[in-house]
């Protein structure tokens, strides 16, 4: 290794990648050379696999445990496999629990698969390996790929909404966008998004995944499960396993769905008549002259003009082939989604090839490569614009001439349709991403497995944008002003281009020792090493033409079209970071009923100073399968009961910028001296040399239970998790620069309950019902001993401070409306309060309303979440119903607080205060009354909702029905998503806006989550 060390001396960071490759190469060579060592007597085993009802099962995977040898059953359920006489066969089939059967020198083995033993035999991802769900001591929930594939969503994670207790997902209706995902509350002020692990590779973004190409999704929630992932895993881990080819079969699978999306909840705003009435009332309240509406005869519903019924089409075609020596899977996906906001569109093309070659039962190598290409046409107008534009204005006279807004909002609010049409198809945004992996696995000495994997994730995005000429506008005459048409000839065309690239390299090397010691002790030990290196760079530029207009034709949208002497701006930047870790895990089971799992990880990150760089994290979990103890044998109603408890400690460095521990200088644009523009610089932030990761510690206790002949499944978890040394970005008062430091402590406690009941009535009718519920309590224990700042979000509407939940709503509490001057005199009020103003609660009881009377008004993050799913099957028919909701949070209707000029009114303003006693809720129509625009409970609405996520009816054709087409199995379905919601939320979607940690919950033009009605097919050839 001396050579190795000297090799790296004096290398700059540019050679890091190369060095990494050298490291990996040496490892591969070192281990690839290890020979396969032992041989035992093989025999041929035949048998038949049937279901509990006696039906033969085709396509059941039969694997010789501990080897790569395997087969699968044919159409009649028969299989043939060659294995050692003392081997164990593992039978697994989607929807059934896997079974292990000892060969014991038998040549015929018949197996009955049962649905009931289900879940617990299932294998879940536990970090650099897998484990039987039965042996888990942490809290991991699995969702089957088919439950994701049957949902017509472009993003697979979107389909998990409501399915997993403790997992909160907020979807966006924006075409191609990723949902916001939170696991067990918000643990940090800095980052709250989980990390995704796709077949072993760590990702922050999984846009490249085809929902139809997923085998399972495992959600790892508690610190004991995530500790082995080190600095990346602290917000939870969502592990995704892609499909592998089924043993011994050649299959073709095609799925397709076509749907239409529609915005079914419009925001209620006044129409022309209502607007005229309210604006006239406002002017009268202000004592201003009435507005001349004579020429404003239109009644335009701007929301109707910007929304559309949008198509969504998702397709996937998979080929798989598996033989004795190799398996191949090829999957092709194509998605085309229109946004409901004109003319938003997203197209996605995916190809994945997975190949595995088994040289013998000891050595296998393989790889996988995914190619992903997307094209996006972003929306061209803001949603709020359509809410704010006065409805009295007509749209346009001809294609190039639009009506401008009335003079009172002309400068601030544009014609929404003009904005839409001017900017549509003026942006070409594309991206490519290639995710690949190569692995080699060697089994030796019977109990050892060495596996080395190298991964890469390469992304390339580019966009070209065009800034077109404006339209002409008709200004309708008001009063003595005549109607005129204007055209702004100072606006010039411009183009911009941007490109970015990202590269990530990861290597994992693991050694596993897996052995049964005697009949009572099962031991698995894993040790490994991993490193991740990331690099990104971007470049962008724009240029404006001052002489010749650039045509509205993509052929011209390059910077080179415009002469170099024209004004423009150019920029670029880069980032680089790395993580190195070594880890180990011990899993031990005594007689299969006393379970122990322990992990250890040592991680180093380039983000921190050398002395703060390294940390060690660990976890310990214990479990007791009560039902395996002899005293439990007589309890017949309970089929399985496991009690488990786990503790874990890990670090969190997610979402934090590089190099914050040392000073940096950034561009402060310009200073002008002597008529020349000079470059100016500034210290970009305040460095904290002692910066280190957040520390996450937590307990998780739970029970897994099966009752009534395995028909009832129950899982209960209680957790208590605390993050300390939270990495927080403070904008220091009187400094205005950011300061990043370790502050504070946040605790999340909660309970999660999942139930599942499935049964049959008669021979043909099956049904299942599975509800889940979770409650999370968040409390900020402190934000630093020395630095007890309040952290402010969304311009002061949200506050984070000691003793309250993170990012809570902080403002005045409305008690009513001041009805009369006498009312104001006798109650607490602002010095300038007038009748018709919102009356606020005098929190500090000093008889006045001041900024000291702001108080806790609620939390933007839902503490209660619940979901349920019901499904029925009768012969070929199936039906499914899924619902989901949250409770306990508030939504801030920030779109209504805007007061920069006269805007269209939302319908609630029709009830505005006019005379004493007219209302005790809606203040007077008078936009000079600033107190009514202070953030208060008037702008909050309950965020509780229940939404029917999916209603689906399907029919599966029998094996013989379509065989003349070569079709083995086919299912067709009709599906409706988000078709009904119950909530008091007035916005487009009731889903809590939880993306911002310190300033969450604001509806400031949230993209609607549309209802989707679709038809789909799933065909196997």
């Amino acid at each position: 290794m001396g050579v190795n060390l000297s090799l790296f001396k004096g290398m700059g960071f540019f050679s890091k990648v190369r060095m990494l490759r050298v490291c990996m190469f040496l490892l591969m060579v070192g281990y690839g050379a290890l020979p396969a060592m032992a041989r035992y007597a093989d025999i041929i085993i035949k048998g038949k696999v049937t279901s509990g009802t006696g039906e033969s099962l085709a396509g059941v995977s039969v694997e010789v445990k501990g080897t790569t040898v395997g087969a699968s059953t044919d159409v009649n359920g028969n299989f043939t496999v060659t294995a050692d006489e003392s081997a164990t066969l593992v039978f697994s089939y989607v929807g059934y629990g896997s079974q292990e059967v000892l060969v014991n020198n038998r040549s015929t083995i018949n197996v009955t698969m049962s649905t009931s033993s289900g879940q617990l035999e299932q294998v879940v991802v536990v970090g650099y390996g897998t484990q039987r769900k039965r042996d888990l001591t942490g809290s991991v929930t699995s969702v089957k790929g088919e439950d994701v594939a049957r949902m017509p969503n472009t993003n697979p994670i979107a389909s998990l909404q409501g399915k997993v207790a403790g997992l909160t997902i907020t979807n966006s209706g924006n075409a191609g966008s990723s949902p916001v995902v939170r696991i067990r509350g918000i643990n940090s002020t800095n980052s709250a998004s989980p990390v995704y692990v796709v077949d072993g590779v760590l990702h922050d973004n999984i846009d490249f995944l085809n929902p139809a190409d997923i085998e399972t999704i495992d959600v790892l929630r508690d610190p004991s499960s995530i500790a082995i992932y080190g600095l990346r895993g602290a917000n939870g881990v969502i592990a995704i396993t892609s499909k592998k080819a089924a043993r011994g079969q050649t299959r073709v699978n095609f799925t397709s769905s076509l749907g239409v999306q529609r915005v079914i909840n419009r925001i209620a705003v006044t129409d022309a008549e209502g607007f005229k009435k309210l604006y006239a009332a406002q002017l009268s309240n202000l004592g201003a002259a009435p507005f001349d509406f004579t020429n404003y005869t239109a009644n335009t519903n701007w929301q109707d003009e910007i929304f559309r019924d949008a198509l969504i089409n998702i397709n996937s075609l998979g080929f798989s082939n598996s033989s004795e020596k190799s398996t191949t899977l090829l999957n092709i996906g194509y998605t085309n989604q229109d946004g409901v906001l004109k003319y938003d569109n997203y197209k996605r093309y995916l190809v994945r090839l997975n190949e595995e070659i088994r040289f013998n039962d000891k050595i296998k190598v393989g790889g996988s490569i995914t190619g992903f290409h997307w094209i996006s046409n972003p929306e061209a107008a803001g949603l709020n614009n359509a809410l704010w534009a006065a409805p009295i204005v007509p749209i346009k006279t001809d294609t190039g001439t639009y009506y401008s807004m009335p003079s009172f909002q002309r400068a601030q609010v544009g014609n929404p349709v003009a904005a839409l049409n001017r900017n549509t198809r003026t942006s070409i945004s594309k991206g490519f991403r290639i995710v690949g992996s190569l692995f080699a696995e060697v089994k030796f000495l019977k109990s050892f497995t060495w596996r080395s994997t190298v991964y890469t994730d390469l992304g390339f995005n580019n966009s070209r944008d065009y800034s077109p000429l404006p339209f002409a506008f008709v200004n309708l005459g008001e009063g003595t002003n005549p109607t005129t048409t204007t055209y702004d000839n100072t606006v010039r065309t411009g183009v911009s281009q941007s490109q970015s690239e990202s590269k990530r390299f990861q290597q994992d090397h693991t050694l596993t020792f897996d052995k049964k010691l005697g009949s009572d002790h099962a031991l698995t030990v894993l040790a490994g090493f991993t490193s991740i290196y990331s690099h990104g760079s971007s470049i962008n530029g724009n240029r404006r033409d001052t002489t010749v207009n650039v045509p509205n034709n993509p052929d011209f949208w390059y910077l080179s079209t415009i002469n170099i002497n024209n004004p423009g701006a150019f920029g670029g930047g880069g980032s680089e970071s790395s993580i190195v870790g070594a880890f180990g895990r011990v899993s031990y089971a005594y007689k299969g009923k006393y379970l122990l799992n322990a992990t250890l990880r040592r991680d180093g990150s380039s983000k921190f100073a050398p002395e703060n760089r390294w940390g060690t994290f660990s976890s310990l979990g214990v479990g007791w399968v009560v039902t395996d103890d002899s005293f439990f044998n007589n309890v017949k109603t309970i089929n399985f009961l496991k009690l488990r408890g786990a503790w874990g400690e890990t670090g969190n460095a997610n979402g934090f910028a590089d190099n914050l521990y040392r000073p940096g200088i950034s561009n402060a644009s310009t200073a002008v001296f002597g008529n020349n523009v000079y470059t100016a610089i500034q210290a970009s932030y305040i460095p904290d040399p002692n910066l280190h990761w957040e520390v996450v510690r937590g307990f998780d206790v739970g029970l897994d239970m099966k009752m009534f002949n395995n028909r009832l499944n129950a899982e209960l978890n209680l957790y208590d998790r605390t993050t300390t040394d939270i990495l927080t970005a403070l904008t220091l008062p009187n400094e205005s620069r950011s300061y990043f430091t370790n502050l504070g402590k946040i605790t999340n406690k909660g309970i999660e309950l999942s139930l599942g009941w499935s049964d049959k009535i008669g021979k043909d009718f099956t049904y299942s019902f599975s509800p889940n519920f979770s409650y999370n309590e968040n409390v900020v224990n402190s934000i630093g001993d020395k630095t007890n700042f309040q952290l402010i979000g969304n311009n002061g509407a949200n506050l984070t401070e000691t003793g309250k939940s993170i990012g809570y709503f902080y403002g005045y509490r409305q008690t009513g409306i001041y009805q009369t001057t006498a009312d104001i005199t006798k109650s607490a009020a602002f010095t300038n309060s007038l009748p018709g103003d919102i009356a606020f609660a005098d929190i500090n009881g000093d008889g006045l309303i001041t900024s000291a009377d702001r108080t806790y008004l609620g939390t933007p993050f839902p503490p209660y979440s619940f979901g349920l799913s019901l499904s029925f099957g009768y012969k070929g028919f199936d039906a499914m119903f899924e619902g989901q909701g949250v409770a306990g949070n508030k939504i801030y209707t920030q779109r209504r607080i805007a007061n920069f000029t006269v805007l269209n009114y939302e319908s609630n303003r029709l009830n505005a205060w006019t005379t004493p006693g007219s209302t005790n809720i809606e203040p007077i129509l008078d936009n000079s009354r600033g107190n009514n625009y202070l953030f208060s409970s008037y702008y909050l609405e309950p965020g509780d909702y229940f939404r029917i996520r999916t209603v689906q009816i399907g029919y599966t054709f029998g094996r013989n029905a379509l065989s003349f087409l070569g079709i083995q199995k086919a299912r067709i379905y009709l599906s409706g998503q988000n078709i009904v919601s119950w909530s008091q939320v007035t916005g487009y979607t009731p889903e809590a806006q939880i993306g911002s940690i310190l300033g969450g919950g604001a509806d400031n033009g949230v993209y609607p989550v549309p209802a989707t009605y679709s038809f789909g097919v799933n065909v196997n050839f």
Partner: protein
């Protein structure tokens, strides 16, 4: 078995050695695309650019964090009797300039927070620059000059803050992270303490900066004259007339400044026959603008925010804020040339006749029915016809230099100091220099006359409100003007709620808010 054990050991050893061998270098990653502070310590040009970063904060404006830009005009002018909010009645009203105009006590108003943040951003950059310069190894003369400039700007910013808010936190060095939340940095220093900082900073600048035009000076940089003028102004606010006199005397005796003969050329960009224009003979400190492709060397919205606002049908010049009041229009003595150089008057509409207003450059504004407000600030006007064209069509970034300190004000400060020290003849002489330039007959140098002259001379230059407060008659004058000015409250603006929240409530609110 021994052989196998060796295998095992090797297998375990390899990854461990790999971690040791690869990781140390692997985790050493330097910042990408950033300069470091070490360079600023050695490189005079980097030190120069760091001070440039302090000057850069003079451009903070628009509706964002602001120093001397558009929102400062709201405080200095709109709050006073010189001007009204302007624009349409509802535009920027509650929560905006309307609150300031009508003294609605709204500590949540963003203008106050923007002014606070903008000034402290400038102060923070100055502190950092001073910190680095103090340990810098560059040549002493250059170092002291740069230190003087940074301290001049810091003193200037504190002077604005203390006038706007009263006592504010005293931040005169880069705090250690551990102490940022200490009471030292999170509570308000007294007004006297802040004035002490200002006096010390400006005195340092007076001592270390060079006289205009001598070696080491450059157009746009703070000079000895600028430092003397501001130090004089600070002493004037403290009624230290002797110091005011000495310092203004110093400026006058430097013989570097003369009044521009034609008042209307003072605010133009280009000199006419060598007279007036940007950085003219009476300009002592002025926010420079530069033409670059990014158009970021300007105070955004300064000109456009105050520009004439159309009612459709023509390409208007701006948002129409800070509209000079009828009271100001009626204030000028007959024949005062400053009236028509300060105010753009919109003519009433007369049927059948072109009654538009023609500006100095020939630009025609339509008559009242097509224009929102009756009057606009001529001193913020940037001609689209005869002054520097922009490289983009962004009207928000018109390159208008902001005149912060003019020789005329120095003369008036000198006159007031002489008047207060009982030297009426000298007071009268300097007062009449200013009056005669405005084509007005001679007057006598009493304090009352000088105050009148300050209003006429400096109207719409964002000084009036603070001057009225200094004179101790803001309440009398503004109540007479119809504003609900409350004595003991409205002399200063409220401490912004956002800042009080950030301090955890330790920043006390001003009286009456």
């Amino acid at each position: 078995m021994i052989r196998y054990t060796h295998y095992k050991l090797l297998v375990l050893a390899v990854p461990l050695l790999m971690v040791a061998g690869c990781s140390k270098k692997f985790l050493e990653i330097d910042p990408q695309g950033q300069l470091t502070e070490v360079q600023a310590l050695r490189d005079p040009e980097a030190a120069n650019q760091l001070v440039g970063g302090v000057y850069n904060t003079l451009y903070l404006g628009g509706f964002d964090n602001s120093t001397v830009g558009f929102q400062w005009a709201i405080l200095g002018d709109v709050a006073s009797d010189d001007s009204d909010k302007g624009s349409t009645p509802s535009d920027y009203d509650a929560g905006g300039a309307g609150d300031v105009d009508n003294f609605r006590p709204n500590p949540a108003n963003g203008i106050y927070n923007n002014i606070w943040n903008g000034h402290y951003l400038g102060i923070a950059r100055a502190n950092k620059a001073i910190d680095i310069l103090n340990s810098s190894t560059i040549e002493t003369t250059a170092k002291n000059r740069l230190l003087g400039e940074a301290r001049f700007l810091r003193g200037f910013y504190y002077f604005n803050l203390v006038r706007a808010f009263g006592g504010v936190p005293k931040v005169v060095r880069v705090p250690e992270p551990a102490e940022v939340n200490s009471d030292e940095f999170q509570t308000r220093a007294s007004v006297a303490d802040i004035y002490a900082v200002i006096l010390e900073d400006l005195q340092f600048a007076v001592d270390n900066l060079s006289v205009k035009g001598t070696a080491g000076t450059q157009l746009g940089r703070a000079t000895k004259g600028a430092a003397q003028s501001y130090l004089a102004k600070v002493y004037m606010y403290q009624k230290n007339w002797q110091k005011t006199l000495e310092l203004t005397q110093g400026v006058i005796n430097s013989n570097q400044y003369t009044l521009v003969p034609n008042y209307n050329l003072v605010f133009r960009e280009k000199a006419v026959s060598g007279v007036g224009g940007a950085n003219n003979s009476e300009s002592i400190f002025e926010v420079q603008t530069g033409l670059n492709v990014a158009e970021n060397a300007v105070s955004p919205l300064y000109s456009n925010g105050q520009g004439p606002r159309g009612r459709g049908g023509w390409n208007d010049l701006g948002f129409g804020f800070n509209s000079p009041s009828a009271d100001l229009a009626g204030f000028y003595e007959p024949g005062d040339t400053r009236r028509n150089a300060t105010i753009i008057f919109i003519n009433p509409t007369v049927a059948g006749r072109d009654n538009g207003t023609y500006l100095w450059d020939g630009f025609r504004l339509p008559s009242q029915d097509s224009v929102e407000n009756p009057r606009y600030n001529y001193k913020a006007y940037h001609s689209p016809l005869l002054e520097s064209g922009q490289l983009t069509s962004n009207k928000d970034t018109k390159p208008k230099n902001i005149r912060l300190m003019r020789y005329a004000e120095v003369l008036l400060m000198y006159a007031e100091a002489q008047a207060m020290l009982g030297n009426a003849a000298e007071a009268t002489a300097k007062l009449n220099m200013v009056r005669s330039r405005a084509n007005l007959p001679a007057s006598t140098g009493t304090q009352a006359n000088i105050w009148r002259e300050r209003r006429a001379e400096l109207a719409m230059e964002h000084d009036r409100f603070f001057d009225l407060v200094r004179q101790g008659r803001a309440g009398t004058v503004l109540r007479a003007h119809g504003k609900p000015f409350v004595d003991g409250r409205n002399e200063v603006f409220p401490i912004p709620n956002a800042q009080r929240d950030l301090s955890g409530g330790r920043l006390t609110q001003n009286n009456g808010y």
